[in-house]
Subunit: 323 residues, 2 copies
C-alpha cells in the first residue's frame, strides 16, 4: 500500500483537473456507471446531547475501473478553539480486482474540499454570468473560500458579497479574499442583501436552520446549496424551493434524506419528483431548462462518492505504473 | 498517525484477550453504550452478474471512549486461484475528540477473523459440553480453522466433525486440524451426519443456499451460524428456526437484514420478535433460557462494529501512552 501525504497530493491534483474529473463523474453516475452504497454517518455529541462532530464515510465503484474508494471525512466543530483544523479525512484506494488496499491518501480532508468546490463551481456555472455580475457567499470557512476561488476563476467574476455569522467574521473573510484572490469582496448585513446584490449565491455553512427564505429572494437568482449534507442541517427554507422554477440534485435519494431538497419535500413545498439530476443537466439532456431567464433555480449538493473516486483516480492514475 | 503492521498486531493481541474484549463489547452494546451506524456494503460482480467479491465497512463508537473505529474487510473469492488471500482488510482508529486518524491497523483482515472467531467461541460456549462431545463444522476456510481452534480450546473439546464442499476439501481440512491442533477431526458426508455426530455445530461458509434443514436435525443441537452476513447469503434453512426453542442474534436489526434470522422471519418460520440479544444472554439477563436441555438453539452472528472497536482498543490501549 502506497501512503501519499497531503503535500504530495496537493502537488499532483490541480483544481482545474479536479473540476473536469468531477464533471465526468457526475455524468458517469447519471448514466448508471458508478455504484455507491448509502453513506455512513457517525455523529458525536457532548454530555448535553449537543453535536460536537460528525464523520462521513462514502464509497464508490465504477464499472471496469481498477480501483474503488472508501473516503472518510470528519468535521469536529470544537477543533478550531484547540488550534486544530475542523475538517479532516483520508481516502482509501482499494483494488476492484482483489480487494487489497492500493493507496492511503492522507489528504486531511483536502480532496473532499476540492471535489466539493469543483461540484459547486460546476453548479454555479449552469447560469451564464457577465463579468460584472456578483457571487454571493453565505459562510466564511475553508470550503467557502475554496468555492469563491474556484467559481470566480471559472466564471471570471470579480465581485463577491459575503455573509458570515457576524459582521466581524464577514469583514475578516472579505479581507482574506481581497488579499489572496483577484476579487473585490464586500461584507453584507443580511441574506436578503446578499441575494439582491448577486446573480449566483452559494451557501456553505453547517447551519441547522434556514438561511435564505422566499422573502429574501430577488426576481432572478441561481442558488447552490452546499452546506446541508446530513439530516438536521438546513440552509435553504422550503419556501425557496416552492418559489423555484428549477431544482437540481446531485443525487435524488441522498438529497431527499440528507439535503435541503428533502426538507422541502417533507414540508410539501415541492413534489418529490420535481428535481433534475446534476449529471444529466451537465450532459445537456434537459434542453428545456433555462437557468438564465427570470426566476429562481437551486442546485442541492450533498456530495457523492463518485466525486471522491474521480479525484482519487486523478492521483492514482499518475503513480499506477509504479505500483 | 501510527501505522501498525500485521506482524506487530499479531504479537500484541492474544486470542484469549480478544475473547474477553469481545464479550465485554457484546454486553456494552446490549446496554446501549456503543453506537454503530448501519454497515456499508460494496459488492463486486463480473460481466455475467456473478458475485466476485464484497467489501464491508463497519464503525462503532463507545460513550466516553477516546477513539472510534472504521473497519474495512473484503472477501474476493477468485483471489485463491491467483495465489492471494481471499480475505483482506484494515482498521482505522480515529480520535473521538477531534476526528483525526490515530492509527491505521494493517491487519489484512486478521482482526476481523479474530473478533469473529471470538464471537463464535462465546456463542458456542453458551451450551455446556463434556470433553467427549463433538464440534461440527461446516466450512473449511481460514475462519472455520480459527473457530475450531478457539472453540475447542475454550470448551476443551477434542472431537471435530467436518463438512466441506467436497470430500477432498473436508479430508484436507481434517488433516490440517489433526496436524496443527490438539483434536481428532473426521470428514463427514452430509450436514445430517455432522448434526447427528455433534452437540455444537458452527456454519462458516459464504453459501447462498441453506446447508442445514430441519430434517437434518437430531433431538438436541446448539448451532452457531457465522457465514451469512449479507443479504443473499444463507446457511440455516428457515425450517431450522421454526424448530428451534431458542434463537439468539448479535444484533436484531442487522440479523434481520443480513443474517439467517431475517430469511426465517421473511419465510414466516419464526416471529420477528422471537430472538434474544447476545449481549443480554452473555450478561445473564435471561435466566429462563436453557441451552443444555433437549431441543435446538441457534445463535445468528453477523458481526458488530462493537467487536472491531473491542479488538482495536486492545491494541491501541497498549501504545496509547506513546501516541
Amino acid at each position: 500500500m502506497r501512503i501519499v501525504t497531503l503535500k504530495e497530493i496537493q502537488s499532483m491534483v490541480s483544481l482545474s483537473a479536479a473540476t473536469v474529473a468531477v464533471r465526468d463523474a457526475f455524468i458517469d453516475y447519471s448514466q448508471g456507471l458508478i455504484e455507491q452504497p448509502d453513506p455512513m454517518q457517525i455523529l458525536f455529541k457532548d454530555e448535553l446531547g449537543r453535536l460536537t462532530g460528525d464523520c462521513h464515510v462514502k464509497s464508490a465503484q465504477k464499472k471496469r475501473h481498477a480501483y474503488f474508494v472508501i473516503k472518510v471525512a470528519s468535521g469536529f466543530y470544537n477543533n478550531a478553539a484547540a488550534g486544530l483544523p475542523v475538517n479532516n479525512g483520508l481516502v482509501l484506494v482499494m483494488s476492484s480486482d482483489n480487494g487489497q488496499a492500493v493507496a492511503l491518501l492522507q489528504d486531511e480532508g483536502w480532496l473532499t474540499q476540492v471535489r466539493t468546490a469543483a461540484a459547486g463551481a460546476l453548479a454555479a456555472s449552469l447560469r451564464d454570468v457577465k463579468k460584472t455580475d456578483c457571487l454571493g457567499v453565505i459562510g466564511t470557512g475553508i470550503q467557502a473560500y475554496l468555492q469563491v476561488k474556484m467559481i470566480t476563476e471559472k466564471l471570471s467574476l470579480k465581485r463577491v458579497a459575503v455573509l458570515g455569522r457576524s459582521l466581524e467574521k464577514s469583514a475578516a473573510f472579505c479581507r482574506k479574499l481581497n488579499e489572496e484572490l483577484d476579487v473585490i469582496a464586500v461584507p453584507m448585513d443580511s441574506a436578503r442583501s446578499v441575494c439582491h446584490a448577486s446573480q449566483v449565491v452559494i451557501t456553505v455553512t453547517p447551519s441547522e436552520r434556514a438561511l435564505i427564505r422566499a422573502e429574501d429572494l430577488p426576481e432572478s437568482l441561481h442558488i447552490v446549496a452546499i452546506g446541508a449534507d446530513s439530516p438536521g442541517k438546513l440552509e435553504i427554507d422550503p419556501s425557496v424551493f416552492h418559489a423555484a422554477k428549477i431544482v437540481v440534485t446531485d443525487d435524488h435519494d441522498q438529497c431527499l434524506h440528507h439535503g435541503d431538497f428533502g426538507a422541502a419535500v417533507r414540508a410539501k413545498a415541492i413534489k418529490e419528483d420535481a428535481d433534475y439530476a446534476m449529471g444529466k443537466v451537465l450532459s445537456g439532456q434537459y434542453s428545456e431548462l433555462d437557468f438564465n431567464g427570470t426566476g429562481i433555480s437551486i442546485v442541492d449538493l450533498t456530495g457523492l462518492g463518485a466525486q471522491d473516486l474521480a479525484v482519487a483516480s486523478l492521483l492514482v492514475d499518475q503513480f499506477s505504473t509504479s505500483l
